[in-house]
Point group: C3
Chain length 176, copies 3
């Protein structure tokens, strides 16, 4: 359960690819009874990506307000959070990818995101991919990406009210 | 514990490579006291694969009836399940691999397998590899494979009586 | 909590890259109140590796005695364990990497490490990377590495008093 209206609270949902993490996050948001807002961080770079995003949007249905914000997640959260809304961010790993492509300072932005989360005006559910449980990748950029993602997950988990790990569509509560 | 004789029930066991998932599945089956049947989906394509399969078979010992069925898992389950037997399928990821190699319609076959599981005549334990917790693979086929595997895990977990996640040989109950 | 002074006990801590597993292991050791000893298995092969190791050492601070032992972990444990010390080994996956580079017999050495752990004179905390939850790697050496790591994790988990799985800095108790 998300925190009731008027209470800010961060929920982090981690899982592998096709683990059902987004579906679980959407159920959490809808069960809150708050107005559901979807913040999509994915940038459509090719057809495959476009297909995935369109399919996700179709599955969510029309109840949701959708905001596309590939980079300035902090401002999107400042604008979209309200006591009567539950905001779902899907997903942090795409946000990090976009920041890396623009040579942003990921450490600074991770800190800035955590700062934003500490002052938002309504509950926020953040979905992210677990990417660090395979073999060490051969290229440096992929290793840096794993480091950035893992570090951000730790920082958000430290301030989150709830953390779930999802596998095969089933949530495992890690915190909260 | 598997469901007692006469009760149908699906158990899904997920885990990484060399996580001990097969060993745990075998113990579950043997502890049931039912006649153990092993459905091997692996197709011997090279020596490495042959070695792995031979080693697994040797470790299982002689109590087991072994059936090799790389593709038509649904028919194998229809034939092999009985109230006095416990059937172990090892593993779903190899089954998906075989289907992909033959350009089968994975969505249709996943649905067909779930349909079969809903009407089998005895308990079935399905082992599968968690493959979605590393970096996004560079080739499309590997990404499709992750999607197929993850989707199938979610579908089976939704109908399963029990789901376990295994790491370092230790089971973590996710459902049941 | 580690076992109190005078009791031998093995703790295994598994997690993905940047999961916070080392940080959690360090907290376990420090909370024990015993003298903290850090056994580093990493061998500095390039600048990136050197940076990571230096950063880790800096984060740990000065309370720790640090021992560098890339290969002969068994002797290091024989020497360093004492009832009034808690020894942290970071990490097993680098140890396996070093052994593989020298064509060591990994099965024999895994058995030898388990033998050592059964007779050490004080608590030992072993950190290791979960590396088997991604797509099957294309090169044989990476597949062998996954096998060696997974097998060793199972063997140590079987004799360990406690096993934790860490994600996003949060420990999940698997055993103990």
């Amino acid at each position: 359960m998300l925190k009731p209206t008027g209470e800010a609270g961060t929920t982090l949902i981690l899982g592998g690819a096709r683990s059902g993490k987004s579906g679980f996050a959407e159920r959490l948001v809808l069960e809150s009874g708050l107005v559901p807002v979807y913040v999509a961080t994915g940038r459509v770079l090719d057809e495959e990506m476009g297909d995935r995003i369109a399919k996700h949007r179709q599955q969510r249905g029309e109840a949701w307000k959708t905001v596309e914000e590939p980079e300035d997640l902090e401002t999107a959260l400042d604008h979209e959070t309200r006591p009567d809304r539950a905001v779902l961010v899907d997903c942090l790993t795409l946000w990090i990818t976009n920041l890396m492509m623009n040579d942003a300072d990921i450490l600074a932005r991770s800190a800035s995101l955590c700062g934003t989360l500490s002052r938002v005006k309504g509950p926020v559910v953040l979905v992210s991919n677990e990417v660090g449980m395979g073999i060490v990748p051969e290229n440096r950029m992929a290793r840096d990406f794993r480091d950035h993602a893992g570090r951000l997950h730790q920082q958000i988990a430290a301030i989150a009210a709830q953390v779930y790990f999802v596998a095969a569509g089933l949530p495992l509560k890690m915190k909260g």
